[in-house]
Structures are given as structure tokens and as C-alpha cells.
């Protein structure tokens, strides 16, 4: 690979927003294409097989989740980073459960976005403080019966990592705070992401069914 920059496809139905993201990302990524509808996005992802798709959650015809489900399996090395103006829990959890590797809000700065794209391209998960809060909420020790120990509970360490992220700590700061390596933080976050996608905890199911995602 000659160009070390991640190859990125940008999917958003607002032209204004796309041009803003394009300008903010600048040379940090290799932008190989843009799509403004779900159908365009599906075709583009299949044909270009990018490293990362920046995916708008809210679009006509099903939004980001429709793209994720349509290309599932067609682009095995492509990773998705959801971008949204919405902070509604069901949107966030829904798009993560459909397979996105991370979630950031559209108000994120250009540098932070470029960093998030790079991390997703490397296979890590990107959690915003808001997403970390939702996950803690969903996995909070509550009345929900635990069906699968391995998937339905966060380990103490994962909880600590998520709490620090929710408090606004960057991964590096989390690592320093907990005296662990940055790679270990990534591992914990990826593990949480996997649980989030596979667990059938009641709260997750409820959010998903409310949006008819299952």
C-alpha cells in the first residue's frame, strides 16, 4: 500500500455538511467518494471497498442502518463510523448494533474526526462520552435478568474505562489514569462494542424493538 492514509467514503444527504467534513478532514484521509442517498452509498461501498465509511445515521429510505444491513458481508474489510446530530439513545445503540464501529456527533472538531477515522480504520472502536454513558446505562446492574454472563455484563475494568470516557477522558488519558497501556484500553472498548452488538439484554432489545431494528 503506497498511501498510508485510510480510504474513506462519506455518506450524508446534506451537501453542505459533506463539503464541511471534506474541508475539515483535508489531507488527513484519502476521500474516495461521496454518496447522498442510501442506494448510492450501497453501490459506492461495494464498488470502492473503502477502509472507513463515514455514515450519517439519519437519511431518507432507512438511514445509516439500511446501508449497514445492505452491505453486510459485501465489504468485509470496510468499517463504519456513524455520524449523527441526534443523541437519541435508540439511534446510537441501533446503528452500533447494526455493525458500526463507533459513533461521533456532528459537532466533533476536524482533528478529532480525523483521529476517530484513523482509529476505526485500525480496527478500534470509537466511543463518544455520550455513547459511553448510554452503554453504562444499558448495562447498569438493574432488574434485567442476566442470560449470558459473558455478554450481558461488563467487567469491572470495562466499566472503569467507560466511566472515564464518559467523564471526557481521551484513550491516552484513560490509560494513564488506570495504569494500563493504550492498547489495553482499545481492547476493553472493543470488547464492550462486541457485547453491545451481541448481547440481548433487555434494555438493548427494547431500544432495538422500539425502532424495529430486529
Amino acid at each position: 500500500m503506497t498511501d498510508p492514509r485510510p480510504r474513506v467514503v462519506l455518506v450524508d444527504d446534506h451537501r453542505l455538511f459533506r463539503s464541511g467534513v471534506r474541508a475539515e478532514l483535508g489531507d488527513a484521509v484519502d476521500l474516495v467518494g461521496e454518496a447522498e442517498t442510501v442506494a448510492e452509498a450501497i453501490a459506492l461501498v461495494r464498488s470502492t471497498q473503502p477502509d472507513v465509511v463515514l455514515l450519517d445515521v439519519h437519511m431518507p429510505d432507512g438511514g445509516g442502518i439500511a446501508v449497514l444491513t445492505a452491505v453486510a458481508g459485501d465489504a468485509p474489510s470496510t468499517r463504519f463510523l456513524a455520524l449523527s446530530v441526534s443523541d437519541a439513545a435508540e439511534d446510537v445503540i441501533g446503528v452500533i448494533r447494526a455493525g458500526a464501529r463507533g459513533y461521533v456527533t456532528k459537532s466533533i472538531s476536524g482533528a478529532e474526526l480525523a483521529d476517530a477515522v484513523r482509529r476505526v480504520a485500525e480496527g478500534d472502536a470509537v466511543f463518544s462520552p455520550k455513547l459511553a454513558g448510554f452503554v453504562l446505562d444499558a448495562f447498569a446492574v438493574g432488574d434485567a435478568p442476566v442470560v449470558d454472563e459473558e455478554l450481558d455484563l461488563l467487567t469491572a475494568r470495562e466499566g472503569e474505562v467507560l466511566r472515564l470516557i464518559a467523564r471526557g477522558y481521551a484513550y491516552k488519558e484513560v490509560a494513564k489514569e488506570l495504569f494500563i497501556s493504550g492498547k489495553t484500553v482499545e481492547t476493553h472498548v472493543s470488547s464492550v462494542l462486541r457485547k453491545l452488538q451481541l448481547s440481548n439484554r433487555r434494555e438493548l432489545t427494547r431500544w432495538a424493538t422500539a425502532r424495529r431494528l430486529i
Binding site: 462520552p129 455520550k130 467523564r167 471526557g168
Partner: protein, 432 residues
Amino acid sequence: MLPQPAAGIGDAPRPVPDPGLRGAPGSDPEPLAVPACDAVVVTAALPAPALHRRFYRATQGRALGGVATGLAEHLGLSPVVLRIAFAALTLAGGAGVVMYAAFWVFVPQRDDAGREGSEGRGQMVALGVLAAGGLLLLNSLGIVSGSSSLVPVALALAGLAMVWRQADASQRSRWRASATGPRGLTRTLAGALLLAAGLAGFLATRGQLGAARQGLVSTIVVVAGLAVLTAPFWLRMTADLRDERRERIRSQERAEVAAHLHDSVLQTLALIQKAADDPREVARLARGQERELRGWLYRPAGGSGGQFAAELERVAAEVEEAHRVAIDVVVVGDCAADAKVGALVAAAREAMVNAAKHSGVAQMQVYAEVEPTRLLVFVRDRGAGFDPALVPADRLGLAQSVFGRMERNGGSAEVRSAPGEGTEVRLEAPHD
């Protein structure tokens, strides 16, 4: 009522009120207009006769169709007077019945959704008077002569009253958005049957049934022919009516959205254009508007159960407004707000204000978690930071309002900071 602008736009920073005084903030759509709102509710709960000068048939306190009660309300008289007048007119030749029936048909009911008048014996008596009057009227007109045709005519009148009453009842139940149900349909059908039986009996007693049968057959044939002939027209008309109704609902919704956007988003955009050379002001306006619009779009329909999260978000919004900073609030769990929670929220507010004033950055993160036995709040910024050991004693902000407040309420506060590394205030309060 139009939605209020963003909680706090153009709103001077207020001291945190005693949480006990506030109801559930999430379920209170007009937090700024509580007294006015109460007054409106009170007037709406009264019958308010002065407001309704139009003549409606009453749906409560009525004896039969609500004509007398409605007319009494309209004229400012006692319903009893009008009832007596109707009865007197009825017995004096039956004119009262004609008047009453005409009012019943042509005067609309008042739309008092949710309230149901008493229907019982009084109504039966009224029906009896009305029927007697009707018979008298028919008698005086020479239509009914002799007692043999009295029964069928009474039967027909009873059926008619039943159908009319049911028509009123189904209109009221439409207002209440509840289906009329099979019972209403049964009543209507029974009424229609009674009417038909009565009419048939009337004709039979007069020996005109045979002639009527022939007339009836030809009438049915003509009506059926007309129905077939005009069916496309009727179908089109009902479809048009339905479309028009749907379009009206849609345009009402659109008008509501437009009104909200006008009051909020368009106003803010105008302000932003005026303040275009002040990036911080633009950011503040945009953020306040974003918060307001987000609340409007995603506000939970049922209102939130706990108030801690809502209180914390409210004070964060106030600090954002007053100090032109951006505060991201993440709350895990929620609980009801009592005095201790109020103190915690007030201390958190002070920590936010402190960060806004001294950190030198316009961004901070607030994280709160409700645990079974304690509440935790973290206020973090990535600003200048300071050495907590070197804070001069006269800088009372953090010491008094944060530490003092927390300790008085059985909690604790802790500050972690170093020059250049930002500041994090950790607040902990016991919770049961």
C-alpha cells in the same frame, strides 16, 4: 400554546431553586408561566357561560336533547323556566314539540369532550312528555284519530327518539375519540325498527297497508335506481371529503411546526446573522438553539420519572448561556430530586461556573452517575489548571460553595488539577 423558547434563552442565570418547589421539570411544558397557566386551567374548568354566547345544546345537566338547558344558558334564564315553557306549549296544541324537535335537529351540541350528562329517569319523563305532546299535535292535525292508531304512533315516536339520541351519543363519543361500539349500532337499529313497525302499524290501522305496499315497492325500486345511478358521485364525494380532512390535518401539523420553527430557529438565525462577527456569540446562540430544538424533537413523550438528570441538564444549560461555554452532560441513571440532590446540583453548578471562568477553554464535560448508595458528579475541563495547594484563601468560590455545600449535606468534594492539565471536580453525595 406555542412551545416555550429554549430553557434559559434570554434568561438571566437564576439561583438554583429549591427542588421541592419545582414539579417534575420534564413533564412541565411551560416552566416559565406557572401562575398564568394555572389561571387558564381554572377558567377552562368552569362552564364559563359568558364565553359561549352562541346557542349550543348542552351536553351536561340536560334532560333530553339539551335544548332547554342550552337555550337557558344562551338566554341567561333558568332551564326550569324553559322546560315549563316547552311543556306548556306542547300541551297547548303541540307547538312545543315542533320547536323542541327543530332545535334538536338544527342546533349543534357543545363539544364538551370527556363529560357525560346524567341520563336516567328524568330523561324518561321528558321523553314521555315529548311523546304525549307529539300525539296531541298529530291529533290536533287530524292525522291520528281514535285510540286504535295511538299505539303505533307512540311506537314510531319512541323509535325516532331513540335514533336521535343515539346520533347525539355517537357524536359525543367521536369527540372523546372512543368508538361507538356495537351497543350504539344496536340502539340505532332498534330505533329504526321501532319506527318502521310503528309506521306500518299506523298504516295497517287505517287500512292503507295494501296500498302502501305497492307504493313502497315502487319507491324502493326508484331509490335503488337512484342509488346505482349516483353511486360514483357519492363515492367520489366521500373520497374527496376524506382527502380534504387528511389534508387539513396535515396542514395543521405543518402550521404547528412552522410556528415553532419561526419562534425558535428563524429568530436564532436572524440573531446569528447580526452577530456574525462574534464567533463566541454565534456558537452560544447556535448551541442554545440546538439544545432547544433537540428537546423539542426528542423529548420523551411521557415525561421523565426522575428529576436529577433534568436538574443537572438545566443548570448546565444556564451556565452555558451565562458564560458562553459548551457543556456536554452525560447522566447515567436518574433519581428523584430531594434537598440533598438539590445541594449536589447547586455544587455542580458552582463547579461548572468556576471552570467556565478560570479554565480558559470554552468546553467542558459533565458526567453524573446514580449508584445505589451514592450520587457522583464529575466536572472536567482541559483548560489551564492550577495547583490546588496554592489557591489563595480569599478565592472562596470553590471552597465555600462547593466544598462547604457538599460537606453540610453529608457528601464530599475533591479537586484534581495541575497547571496545564485541566481540572476535574468530583462531587459525591449519599443517596438512598
